[in-house]
């Protein structure tokens, strides 16, 4: 593999941003310093660019096997590197469900064929995501699974989740919990509140999410096990997590760009691209999610990348599929709203989008240091552009952000020392 010399960029380190060159060699970051010379190296002129650790998204839906018309591992990987991601973890709600080593192995093999970013499968917690009996977590781990989750279908039975947390810990796996009390959600499609009443769409109360967050906190606390809360969207959820962490509960949590950028005002357009589960909430929730990201209550930003076919969105709001194709807009939205928006600095952004998910799932990478793997992302933070879903690499064009002006364009994505994406 050819050496790569990244010259003249601003490099985002865990505690500071420095002007430095990076030499990549043998898939590793060989050297960080001023005015590095390296004969024969491919030189990337990073003047005006900012170098981040490769972004890591621990919550995506790549849809393969079974729903390749929405997305497949190759198209999802291509979208990921276009979004600046070097590692993604894909949820198991495929067809068949990723609840056994064979499907895990299939995903790993397909990702290798695609050869773009690293794809880590997440196995199901229960067989068929049915919530009834544990999936073969040990065998899935051996085949490459990095966590377990019944994402999209909450584990409704508390005893089942208790058993899952206990059993998963034997294999060093963490349960990622999609928190939704289905009885309270009761078929709702948007946040319950003023706007659901205005639009006449059935609401999902915040309590549906918060009650299950509370349950997972209590289980993790009493069992002394780790647990991770998926896509936190409410102020109450952030508060529960903050209190639990203060008590020392081993709980981590994620949120998504749509929860710190959008309020449910957007649903009154009836644009089904705004339909996502959990639903986008209200201004006070947006502020709470930002505060949670700032103080680390919310450990990381994920996309919950949920590509859908246009026919699944161009229907009545109630009939439309839940989900946002988010992997190509996550960095720009996060940079624009959180760094330019004054929530935190570039190092914190790199932590929430790279280091934190690596810590939670024990993945390599996540930071820029000599000897670390050479997973990097270079972005032009000054570049302002308008999000255009037609230009998405993902098969899923379903985004509520179309037409929004953002800052921060991904220019290069480097995986294990090889350029896997370069902006045109």
């Amino acid at each position: 593999m050819r050496k790569i010399l990244i010259k003249g960029g601003q490099v985002v380190l865990p505690d500071e941003v420095i002007g430095a060159d990076l030499l990549l060699e043998g898939g590793k970051i060989a050297k960080i310093g001023k005015d590095i010379e390296a004969a024969g190296a491919q030189v990337i002129d990073a003047a005006g660019l900012t170098v981040f650790p490769g972004l890591i998204d621990m919550h995506v839906h790549l849809r393969e096997p079974g729903f390749e018309y929405k997305e497949d591992i190759a198209s999802g990987s291509a979208a990921a590197v276009a979004g600046g991601f070097t590692q993604v973890c894909c949820m198991p709600n495929t067809d068949p469900v990723c609840d056994n080593a064979a499907v895990v192995g299939y995903i790993v093999a397909r990702a290798k064929e695609a050869g773009l970013c690293k794809v880590h499968p997440i196995g199901a917690i229960t067989k068929g995501e049915k919530g009834e009996s544990l999936a073969e977590m040990g065998k899935m781990k051996e085949a490459g699974a990095v966590a377990v989750s019944d994402d999209g279908r909450p584990v409704s039975n508390a005893r089942m989740m208790r058993l899952a947390m206990e059993y998963a810990s034997d294999f060093g796996l963490i349960c990622l919990s999609h928190c939704e009390d289905r009885d309270l959600a009761d078929g709702g499609v948007v946040n319950e509140g003023y706007n659901s009443t205005l639009a006449g769409l059935k609401g999902i109360p915040r309590a549906a999410e918060e009650i299950m967050i509370a349950r997972e906190i209590i289980l993790a606390e009493t069992l002394k096990k780790r647990a991770h809360i998926c896509h936190v969207s409410t102020k109450g959820g952030v508060q529960l997590l903050r209190e639990a962490k203060a008590r020392g509960v081993q709980i981590t949590a994620e949120t998504c760009p749509h929860y710190f950028t959008l309020t449910d005002d957007v649903i009154t357009s009836f644009d089904a691209n705004t339909k996502v589960n959990p639903p986008v909430r209200e201004a006070e929730d947006v502020e709470a999610v930002k505060a949670g990201l700032r103080d680390g209550t919310l450990d990381c930003i994920v996309t919950d990348h949920a590509p859908h076919h246009v026919d699944e969105k161009n229907v009545e709001y109630n009939l439309a599929a839940f989900g946002i194709s988010g992997i190509e807009t996550s960095f720009a939205l996060s940079y624009t709203y959180l760094v330019r928006g004054g929530v935190f600095d570039l190092s914190a952004l790199a932590d929430r989008m790279s280091a934190a998910p690596a810590r939670i799932l024990h993945l390599e990478g996540g930071r820029i240091a000599e000897g670390e793997i050479a997973d990097l992302m270079l972005a032009d933070l000054q570049e302002k552009y308008v999000i255009d879903s037609k230009k998405f690499v993902s098969k899923g064009k379903n985004t509520p952000f179309n037409g929004m002006e953002v800052y921060g364009r991904v220019k290069y994505t480097i995986v294990d020392g090889a350029v896997k994406y370069q902006a045109q």
Binding site: E192, G193, Y194, N195, S196, T197, L198, A199, G200, L201, K202, G203, F270, D311, N314, V315, E316, Y317, N318, L319
Partner: protein, 311 residues
């Protein structure tokens, strides 16, 4: 001025509402003279596309169109066909290709008329969509109120019943607040939607408070499926604590009018004595519904000068 469609009163101006009501005055005059072969919509086609059962709304639209000389087509889609089969957009484009001028749609899901309107050249009238809006019902309610009181300023309207699932309550609220009336609502807590107070409704703490001095007492139909869904325990308990009897009606203004969008559950929302009492305008509402829909269809078609291609 009224646009291509009428999707709801949330985004309809007071001026447009009054224009429709004013136009309906002439229509009602013709109706009461039993003139039912009018030329206003000759050469026009009005299609009703109903994904939910309805007798009065559909019949009212169809007669309104026929009285004005339009051709009418009625399409009933079973609610199961919403889930499978042709998509709403495809159905709309088919009806469009057949040169319909107006499509009246009723649909169990909020926002469906808007989705249709965005995808067809025909004018779309919302005949009730899920829990969203039922603008023509509210317009006929306004017509009935104005006929009785002359204006809306300071008129106290009490709306009682299943507010949460009621598109009628919302369209009434949206229009009445623009017209200057005061709207008070009362329902079991399980049937009161969040945030409706921020849309201009006063939420009463008791049936008595809601009724006190009301000029209009409007009941909303209680659907049995809500009881089966656990939202209230029984019809008799509902009637006892939330229904309106002659005794309760004495709390309202002496000259109040009793209204209901129908169909009424006798002995539940209102006692029979209230439904058939001298304050009741329930049957007059039905007649006004035809007049208001005639006015609306006429105004929408007038906007479509070149027919189907103009939009």
């Amino acid at each position: 001025m009224l646009g291509k469609d009428l999707l709801g009163l949330w985004d309809t101006s007071a001026e447009d509402i009054l224009l429709i009501l004013d136009t309906a005055v002439g229509m009602k005059k013709l109706l009461t003279q039993n003139l039912k072969k009018l030329p206003h919509l000759q050469g026009r086609t009005v299609t009703t596309l109903f994904y939910e059962n309805s007798t009065r709304t559909r019949c009212s639209f169809e007669l309104a169109a026929k009285y004005l000389g339009a051709g009418t087509v009625n399409i009933s889609a079973s609610s199961s066909s919403v889930q499978k089969g042709e998509t709403l957009i495809d159905t709309g484009k088919t009806l469009d290709a057949m040169k319909n001028d107006v499509i009246v749609i009723r649909h169990p899901m909020g926002g469906a008329p808007r989705l249709l309107a965005e995808n067809v050249k025909a004018s779309v009238v919302n005949g009730g969509d899920g829990m969203n809006e039922h603008p023509t019902q509210a317009l006929l309610d306004f017509y009935t109120m104005r006929e009785k009181f002359g204006s809306f300023k300071g008129v106290k309207v009490a709306i009682l019943g299943d507010i949460k699932h009621s598109r009628v309550a919302k369209s009434n609220l949206f229009g009445l607040t623009k017209l200057g009336a005061d709207v008070t609502m009362y329902s079991p807590a399980t049937l009161m939607p969040q945030g409706i107070d921020r849309m201009g409704a006063k939420i009463a703490r008791s049936r008595e408070e809601a009724l006190a001095g009301a000029n209009v007492v409007m009941g909303l139909r209680i659907q049995l499926e809500r009881m089966h869904g656990g939202l209230f325990p029984s019809l008799s308990e509902y009637a006892k604590y939330y229904g309106v009897s002659e005794e309760h009606l004495k709390l309202a203004d002496r000259d109040c009018i009793v209204m209901h969008p129908g169909p009424v559950n006798r002995g539940v929302e209102f006692t029979t004595a209230v439904i058939d009492g001298e304050n009741s305008e329930i049957n007059e509402q039905v007649l006004n519904g035809v007049a208001v829909r005639m006015a609306l269809l006429f105004l929408l078609c007038k906007n479509r000068q070149g027919g189907n291609e103009s939009a």
